[in-house]
Amino acid sequence: MRYLTTRKRAEGLGSARAGTEHHLAMTASGWALLVLVPILVFVLARTIGGSFDEVRATFANPFVAILTALFLVIGMRHFAKGAQTAIEDYAHGATRAALIMVANAAAYLTIAAGLYALIKLAI
């Protein structure tokens, strides 16, 4: 018997050496998104198509703003990690490196733009 947890034994294995870390990160963000996404889908369903003032009022609400901010950060990191895995499956060499950078840049740009909008609407 080895005095190691199953997680400790699995970490660092596999060709990329990061599979365990990736799996745990996607699982943790997945649980968070399981709570955040249904709420935001219904908020958006009621808000998209609304007038300028209605949209501003909805996102000025602290609960909606905080949940949206959490979704942007957790959701877009979840997206970037998932997109990176997909890219690693199909693209190779310089194309792979470039696409991973594009996916991460798009995720960070979305987070930054969304948080800027939320702060501007809150103050």
């Binding site: 998209i48 909008a117 501007k120």
Partner: protein, 131 residues
Amino acid sequence: MAETKEQKRPLSPFMIGPYYRPQMTSISSILVRITGLALVVGIGLTVAWLLAAAVSEEWFARVDWVVTSWLGKLVYVGSAWAVWYHLLGGVRHFIFDAGRGMDSPTAEKLGWAMVVGSVVLTVITILVASW
């Protein structure tokens, strides 16, 4: 023995069809990846719309024109299905991670539950949006 000539081997995603019979389990899994990636379109449009609402009424009018156009509606109906399907796919991951539902009949039922469940949730979302 010492042959190091690079061999042309079929790569996994292109196995489907000629070498690999599509199954409920594999196709429903691939759709989780496709829906996850495709959601960037709807999220990008929504963040552009939110940013426009924060910037000015003129910018909001421009982005809202796209959002409420037939193309915008198509993006949002598609995104509603994609987000529910991807979410149910994540729930299936949690079930599989717990070591449950791994036998073929249950795994196939879970795949159909994702398809039916995502369509039902999309209809509910459209009803909530239009009531």
